[in-house]
């Protein structure tokens, strides 16, 4: 049974974090870093899909492999010139869109549910590579694909029905 008592880890975190609030400037730096990582995650996915190593990518965009490693580690900032080089080098394009934080919460939640089920495989069949996904709830989908509970999934706006 779950008790309301805090576990030792929670107590230790509470104790250690009491005197160390995160400053606004530090928070902004963190957000900037995460923004960079969002771009880099896409680059890594595309590179992996195409079997391009870090070294090969560095060669394609005319930077040193160690520079790319430093960027991935967060030790060097990623600038837009490098991003443009990556776009050309990998023959890809970053799609930029702004999103409501409320929708973003759904997005993360759905991503988790997505990873936890076999829906990923099914939805991938409908991904035509444009990368534009909308959040929609589909009642009854669970029965068709054998998932334990009703889940929300991403489907493309152009697809009205999913045949499973």
């Amino acid at each position: 049974m779950k008790s309301n008592k805090k576990n030792p880890a929670e107590l230790l975190v509470e104790k250690l974090s009491k005197d160390k609030p995160i400053s606004d400037e530090r928070e902004l730096r963190h957000l900037a870093q995460m923004l960079m990582y969002r771009f880099l995650s896409e680059v890594e996915k595309v590179s992996d899909d195409r079997g391009i190593s870090r070294k090969e990518l560095a060669k394609k965009i005319n930077v040193s492999p160690s520079y790319l490693t430093q960027v991935y580690r967060g030790n060097k900032p990623l600038n837009f010139l490098t991003l443009a080089k990556i776009e050309c080098g990998l023959n890809m394009r970053f799609d930029v869109s702004a999103i409501d934080p409320e929708v973003l919460e759904l997005d993360e939640w759905a991503a988790q549910s997505w990873a936890d089920t076999n829906i990923n495989r099914i939805v991938n069949n409908f991904n035509n590579g444009r990368g534009l996904w909308m959040f929609k709830s589909r009642k009854g989908f669970n029965e068709s694909c054998g998932v334990d509970e009703a889940v929300n999934i991403y489907i493309e706006p152009s697809i009205d029905k999913i045949a499973v």
Binding site: N7, P8, A9, L12, V13, L16, S17, K20, I22, R26, R29, H30, Q33, M34, Y37, R38, L40, S41, E44, K45, D48, T69, Y72, R73, G74, N75, E108, A111, Q112, S113, A115, D116, T117, D148, E149
Partner: protein, 113 residues
């Protein structure tokens, strides 16, 4: 969701909450939360073939090379990442004692409290 192996709480929590580490910890935490891929920060652990459910977090800022080995457990609803072992990597090879400990952690069945 993150959890810490009970035997390692007093080592791992103070480390990740340290003022010099907490920024990097928050980055790794958010990379995982946002399902972002970054093989320099969080990746499948290649220390042993036996420990195939183990992952590693890499803390490399400020010329460190510290790793936290984690066991990943997925249930139908939640992805649990259990922080198990902290290791300050100083050479290319991982010592056998650490390798054995990682294999030991990979076999543990955790009860989340």
């Amino acid at each position: 969701m993150f959890a810490v192996d009970q035997t390692m709480i007093s080592v791992i929590i103070p480390f990740i909450m340290d003022d010099n580490v907490i920024d990097e910890w928050r980055q790794i935490r958010d990379l995982i939360f946002q399902s972002l891929r970054n093989a320099e920060k969080y990746l499948k652990c290649d220390v042993s073939k036996v420990a195939n459910n183990m992952f590693e977090m890499r803390f490399t800022n400020k010329r460190r090379n510290i790793r936290i080995y984690c066991q990943e457990v997925r249930t139908s609803k939640t992805r649990y990442i259990i922080l198990c072992e902290l290791f300050d990597k100083k050479s290319t090879d991982i010592p056998k004692s650490v390798k054995n400990r990682i294999e030991g952690y990979s076999k543990r069945n955790y009860e989340i409290k």
